[in-house]
Symmetry: C2
Subunit: 521 residues, 2 copies
């Protein structure tokens, strides 16, 4: 029975194919040259949704953005050396490389998002071009390493510029290819009359960066210090041009009428929409890599040598592993902290209906701090208990957690500015989850700040306070809904016992509401 | 105006909240104990879609699955040593650890998929429990490292068993929690009458693994060799039990009537559906990590020391970097190969409408080979040109590419067995993309096989042939559609010039069709 059915189906398909062949008989057998320039119908047939290509690109870019923390983490500290000196040594090169890489990679990522907001469907050629683009983006961190290690040698600058120029050219090819096959484009552009205008505008924006890099490369032969400045300008150019435009628009006002459509794409406006799915995918990638960074080291370095165990610990593996105890603690601690910060991010983005570029910027800052967290945790356990180094390492961890959490909070505050477009009603002012979301987002900054001050006062117990914090925070998240409810009830009872309907939002929220509204209007 | 609107909105929300409070006044202020046991309505309010939690879990698991190739890759080969000896040394411990980790992690991943096919929505508690589960899964590779380094010490076994038992307990807690809040469950179970049966069945399946691990842990004190066997049985248990069930069903036939619903979940049947999105997300993670594995090494190891450059190369950075040339080549080569294998996987899954467990198994095998690819590429360039070691390294690379591609092809063949459920009509037998998909999937196995035999015959030019293959394959993919069309036209002209409608599928496809149908029916 299955056989018969199968045959029936296959014959049906043959019929399909036959009909197809009658429509395009030339393509198949007669002329090879014609099949080199596929017809529009043929192209549409091989059109694919782009979401998986974008998810894969996000994964690659997030790995590259965070990988550069590894050389920082692998810098060995001597116990007799003061942490401050090491930190200064680190600050000069490795942390700078990490932050620069993170910034440039997120800029490349933002450009990639812009590109694939214009080109919504892909085909095989675009997928392969995108892979070539990714290959070059993943090579950028290495050029930064060269620049940081040999600041007086122009080879690093030249390599970096060469990569950026090729990436820009590939993106331009993608745009030209996309506009030559309009069914690949965004629906809005597809139906728009002035596709030629869009094409020119987008190509202009894309080619700006490679052209500036070309000049930076030439400049590096003459006066290489200046080309570093030029590269820094290129990195921050989107933000500079966007601020300039924004200020100009504010000053002149309503002057946007000649390019009404182009504002949707490549506008660099702070409220330019950003694909929420891609922000989530990129953040997930970074959180996942960062959470597992330390297991890399543990698996490689913390398996003792059998001969060493035999010689020094009389064959007792448990004794040998006890030496690594602090490193396991660092792994679990950083995994839990990164996991919980992901949890907060996840909770926030559940209620975000549309992301903007400014939110994306704060997200990037938050992720950049999170990337440094495993390193800070590792430092925490690397120094003898009670030493000055240990205290400073713990305080650095607190500062990193504080800023990572603070920028998450900043994302929410940014979203609240235009809450109607960006937030679900539940978490807007007065929404039923507003106070709970505020508590979730402010838990980590508050805890980190509290731990920081406690360790300042009770510096002898700093490690104990820090471990207590690590253990307590997951439970705090579990009980947070209850805690918020209790706090709200107490606040209501304290401040407005007569009017229970006003006290829905906590008092501090009501206080902060007015200035926000003032700024918005 | 904005101010007024905002106020209006806020007042509206206050009204909402007021109404809400009238419905549940007790929860907010009077009784704290009642808010500890949240009402069903309250729970439903905080229910969240689970897709991002699953994507994050997939990212974490894919990182852990591939990370264990790094210790293998970091094993240094001496140039005067024979590769065969090194390979044997590697095979004994590190590759075994890598493959075991890959297998156990994918088994954990399969269990995670089963769990979250039952529990379709999550809330904060489940998200936190899942993070705890992930933390333990990411620790598993370390226990394998211990086992491999100290095969005679039971500590590794005990640690592994402890992790698995805790993971099983957390999963059991998640199931119990999910069934206590039925709105979190799969719609099918939610509407089913016998939830208690489902709960018992699922808990039984979940607890089987931790209980067996518990016995393995006890056994390790008495006769630890046997507990390794028991652990291997546990790893392959799903496949063993599934095969046994499948054989029993075949033998007895139609004996499934007493548990008609349970077959949907935790059935371990080869055709049990597998979430296609999760297979894609997991594969994307593995491909992304593997593609960038070598950049980790390049950024850490291939930045020369400034003093060394000054001393040995007279300050010429270019001269110093030329020594690293082969490693850049290895990076770009492995990135391109992994990227193109991803591209093939992507093309296949575009046309897969439903994934099955058996396809997932072949996907896992393919990914396990891909994980070893960067290592093989690195080896290729580590030996002096023309040496026997270089030839063997190139041949190993070819074998790895061959098997990675072959298992991708096996996925498609598996899908063709039940093409109506699993494949898009375009790629079924006689579909218009059938031949093109076949060509895409068989390109890499064919090229790898060809390169392998060419290097056997022309062993002196093996490196040249290998590099030529690396450069040619991306272009082959670009021109593949044209090539397939030409081949089909030639085949049609050669074999059946009179009946052009029969020759749609290539001759070899028609040959292979009959046996498949015979097996299926």
């Amino acid at each position: 029975m299955g056989e018969n059915d199968d045959d029936g189906e296959i014959i049906e398909h043959h019929d399909d194919e036959e009909m197809e062949k009658r429509n395009t008989p030339r393509n198949d057998s007669n002329s090879f040259l014609e099949s080199l320039t596929p017809s529009e119908r043929d192209g549409q047939r091989s059109t694919q949704p782009s979401h998986r290509l974008l998810a894969y690109s996000d994964a690659l870019i997030s790995i590259i953005a965070t990988v550069m923390i590894l050389p920082v983490a692998h810098t060995k500290f001597q116990n007799n050396e003061e942490l401050k000196d090491s930190i200064q040594l680190l600050l000069t090169t490795k942390i700078a490389v990490y932050l620069m890489t993170f910034l440039i990679v997120t800029v490349a990522w933002a450009a990639h998002i812009r590109l694939f907001q214009v080109i919504e469907s892909i085909d095989d050629t675009l997928a392969l071009l995108n892979l070539a683009c990714m290959m070059l983006i993943t090579f950028l961190p290495y050029t930064f390493s060269l620049m940081a290690t040999f600041p007086n040698n122009i080879l690093g600058i030249l390599l970096f510029c060469a990569c950026v120029i090729v990436i820009g050219l590939i993106q331009a090819v993608i745009v030209v290819y996309g506009f030559s096959r309009p069914f690949l484009l965004n629906k809005h552009i597809q139906t728009s009359g002035n596709q030629a205008y869009y094409r020119r505008h987008i190509l202009e924006v894309i080619m700006r960066v490679p052209i500036m890099c070309f000049f930076a490369a030439i400049l590096s032969f003459i006066f290489f210090q200046l080309s570093y400045v030029l590269l820094a300008v290129i990195i921050f150019m989107p933000y500079i041009s966007q601020s300039l435009k924004w200020i100009r628009d504010r000053a002149i006002g309503g002057q946007l009428d000649d390019t009404p459509d182009s504002m949707l794409f490549y506008s660099y406006h702070p409220s330019e929409p950003l694909s929420k799915e891609r922000v989530e995918a990129f953040s997930d990638g970074v959180y996942a890599i960062v959470a597992t960074l330390l297991i890399l080291d543990i698996c490689e370095d913390n398996v003792p040598d059998p001969s060493l165990v035999e010689k020094e610990f009389d064959g007792s593996l448990i004794m040998a592993l006890q030496a690594y105890g602090p490193e396991y603690l660092a792994y679990f601690g950083s995994f839990a902290t990164v996991g919980l910060l992901w949890f907060v991010h996840h909770s926030l983005f559940l209620h975000v209906t549309r992301a903007t570029r400014l939110m994306g910027l704060f997200n990037t800052f938050s992720l950049a701090f999170i990337g440094g967290l495993p390193l800070a945790y590792q430092l925490t356990h690397e120094f003898p208990p009670g030493s000055r180094n240990e205290l400073e390492a713990i305080q650095i961890s607190c500062v990193i957690i504080f800023f990572a959490g603070l920028f998450q909070l900043a994302m929410w505050v940014t979203a609240l500015f235009s809450e109607r477009e960006t937030l679900h009603p539940y978490v807007r002012y007065g929404g039923r989850e507003h106070a709970f979301m505020f508590a979730k987002l402010s838990l980590y900054p508050c805890v980190a700040l509290g731990t920081f001050f406690f360790t300042c006062i009770l510096s002898r117990f700093s490690a104990f306070i820090f471990h207590l914090m690590q253990i307590a925070v997951p439970f705090a998240f579990l009980l947070l809904r209850l805690l918020v409810r209790v706090t709200l009830a107490v606040l209501r009872w304290l401040f407005c016992p007569a009017r229970p309907d006003v006290g829905n939002t906590p008092a501090e929220e009501d206080d902060s509401r007015l200035p926000f509204n003032d700024i918005v209007t």
